[in-house]
Structures are given as C-alpha cells and as structure tokens.
Amino acid sequence: MSLDEARKLLDLAVEQWERACNDAWEPSDPASCVTNSFYAYENLIAAVARASDVPYQKRHDKKAELARRLFENKTLSKDLHDRMLRLNTLRKDVSYGEEDIELRDEDLEAFCVRTRDCDRRSEVDHSKIRRGAGR
C-alpha cells in the first residue's frame, strides 16, 4: 500500500535528518552529515511521491527532477531540485574520499536547518500520511 510505504520512507528521512544534525554538532563529521542529509531529502521526496501515487525512478537526478515537479504542481512548497543536486555532488566527493576539498566551504548547521525546515513543512503531509495509513 502506498501510504504504508510512504510512512516508512518518511520515518527513514526523519532518522537520517536526526543523524545529520548529530553529525553537524561538534565534534562535527561533515562527510557523514552531507551523506545523511542527502538520503533524508531523497527519502522525503520518495515518501511524498508514494503518498501522492506519483511513480518515480531510483536514479538521483530523476528524484531531483521529481522534487521540482512536486513543487511546480504545488505538492511541495519549496523547490528542492538544486539543493538535492548540490548534496549529491558533495556526497559523491566524500564517497570518493575528497571530503576536504569542497566541504570546507559548506555550513553544516545551515544544511541541517534547511533539512529541518523541509521536514517541518512535511509535517502536515506526515500527519496525513499517518492518518491515511491507519485507516
């Protein structure tokens, strides 16, 4: 059932966001922070897509495009496309072990605040998903 799956994905996004916050706090772990933030966004978008019965592909660029479409059709209040692509770039950098280069310029707290804002905006959807799944 789509709503059950959406709820699981949203729970994952929340857990990953919590981990990203923990990573951002001192002593910070930038590599882990961007990776958790990235997956949190992806699961958030996947959850909204599932709850809205919108099909999606697992490719990262397709999920970012989906985020834009969900914004354009007013399902989401913010366009997360560019942010997801940026996080994907940073995540790839850290995955290849290049974490020192780009992350120096990133504000980890800002990442988490933005993810949290996004998560708060999704709370209405979250409660809808939860109510729906309980039916």
């Binding site: 699981k8 994952l12 857990e15 990953q16 981990r19 923990n22 706090w25 002593p27 772990d29 590599a31 882990s32 990776t35 997956y39 992806e42 699961n43 697992k58 490719r59 660029d61 994907n88 770039t89 790839k92 950098d93 995955s95 290849y96 072990g97 290049e98 280069i101 780009e102």
Partner: protein, 240 residues
C-alpha cells in the same frame, strides 16, 4: 594519456565555453571517470575536473554531470600525497580545454607518483560504517550504494598494492577477477546494478569488505574503527 577526437571535443564545446565564460580562460577542464575511458553505462555520471588558479565554483548544466573543482596547488599536493583520483586523472583524463595548468601538472614530478593503496583503507572503512548504519535503519537502497563505494575502495586498494592501476568503475570487477578475487568482482557487479538487492546480500558484501580491509591493513582498519566508535560514543553521551 589519450587525446579526444575533434568531434568529441566539439561535443563538449558548450560546456567548456560556459565554464570559461564564468571563470575565465585560465581554467583547465578535464573529462574523467568512465566517460573518459569510453566505458560509461546508463548509470554512469559525467565527471568533469575543473582546475583554476583559485578554486572555481563550477556548475555544469548537463544532467548527471558531477564537477570536481580544485586549484593547481591542491591537485599537485594530492598527487604528492598519493591520492588515486589525481593519479587517475593524470593517466586517463581527457583535457577538453587547457588554460595552462593541466600541461604544468603533466610536466610535474608529482605526476609520476604511484598512489598509496593505504589511503584507501579509511575511505573504505568510512563508507562501510555508513552503509552498515543505513542498512540497520532499513534504507536498503542507500546501504547498497554506500556498500558499492566501499567495495570500489577495497578493489582499488588491492589493485594498487599489487602494482596494477585501477581503471574506471565499470572496469573494476574485471580487474578484481584477474587479480584472483572473483567473489569480490561478483558482489561488486551484483550491487552496482539497480534492481533491488536483498539485505542479506548487502550484509555479505559488507562482511567481505571488512575481511579484506583487515587482510590489507589490520592496524589501519582497527585505528579508524576505534576513532569512529569513540567519536560516536562522545556524541551520544553529550546529547543524551
């Protein structure tokens, strides 16, 4: 090092023009990764390396384009440190445009430095711990992806230690097989291709990666693992 044909260069001309317009003629733009090797697949990203006097904030409008930026100094420093991305780029990167830095890098003494396989151990361990955490929380897709990164680092370490230069990601399995690690090659291919891998296969790949890391350098793995656990423990106690 290979050179691109005129038609291939013209294919990238728009990207190069846009980067030069944004950052000036002093930059160098190099195609790296599986596209540069002519071994890209449907899942492959386009990887560009952009080198500037100052680190450019490079943006590429092409879909699935990943841009790695650095200064000439940073690039040469990493070559000297034995980082394999820079060493790979020097050997297989295809220059799309050179404002001068790329030619200087290729002429440098550091261009001949063999990458240190030991540098791959913490990179692999980090991905492995991340993959393990993701699997525990139930995100199999993300765990698969992080496990693939860990496997890649492990394969590259094994190859470099054996005196073999690792190629692009789609070529790693074949290289691992030739080196005698057919199960590693199989797991790498299985996880790399989309289509839902079971958690038990992901766990198997993680266990095998750990075993190989211990085989490669037990003390380096143990040191990283200890630091990782201590950092997490310190955070948990602080935020409890």
């Amino acid at each position: 090092m290979s050179n691109l044909s005129t038609s291939a260069v013209s294919q990238w001309q728009g990207v190069v023009d846009s980067l030069r317009a944004r950052h000036g003629d002093g930059i160098s733009v190099v195609l790296v990764g599986s596209v540069a090797r002519g071994r890209s697949t449907e899942e492959s990203d386009i990887d560009l390396l952009v080198i500037g006097e100052r680190r450019p904030e490079a943006v590429c409008d092409l879909p699935r384009c990943h841009v790695q930026v650095c200064t000439e100094t940073e690039f040469i420093r990493n070559l000297a440190l034995g980082e394999d991305f820079e060493a790979w780029s020097v050997r297989f990167g295809l220059p799309l445009y050179d404002g001068g830095a790329w030619a200087r890098i290729l002429r440098s003494a550091e261009a001949g430095v063999w990458p240190k396989w030991q540098a791959k151990i913490p990179h692999a361990a980090r991905r492995l711990f991340m993959a393990s955490a993701l699997l525990k929380m139930g995100d199999a897709d993300a765990a698969t992806e992080e496990t693939v990164y860990a496997l890649c680092h492990v394969v590259r370490a094994l190859l470099l230690r054996a005196g073999v230069f690792s190629l692009s990601r789609p070529e790693l399995a074949e290289q691992a097989k030739v080196l005698g690690y057919s199960q590693l090659a199989h797991l790498h291919e299985e996880l790399r291709h989309p289509g839902g891998v079971s958690p038990s296969r992901i766990r198997l790949a993680q266990r095998y990666s750990k075993k190989l890391l211990l085989h490669l350098d037990r003390s380096a793995y143990a040191k990283f693992s200890k630091e990782y656990r201590e950092r997490n423990r310190a955070k948990s106690s602080r935020h409890r």
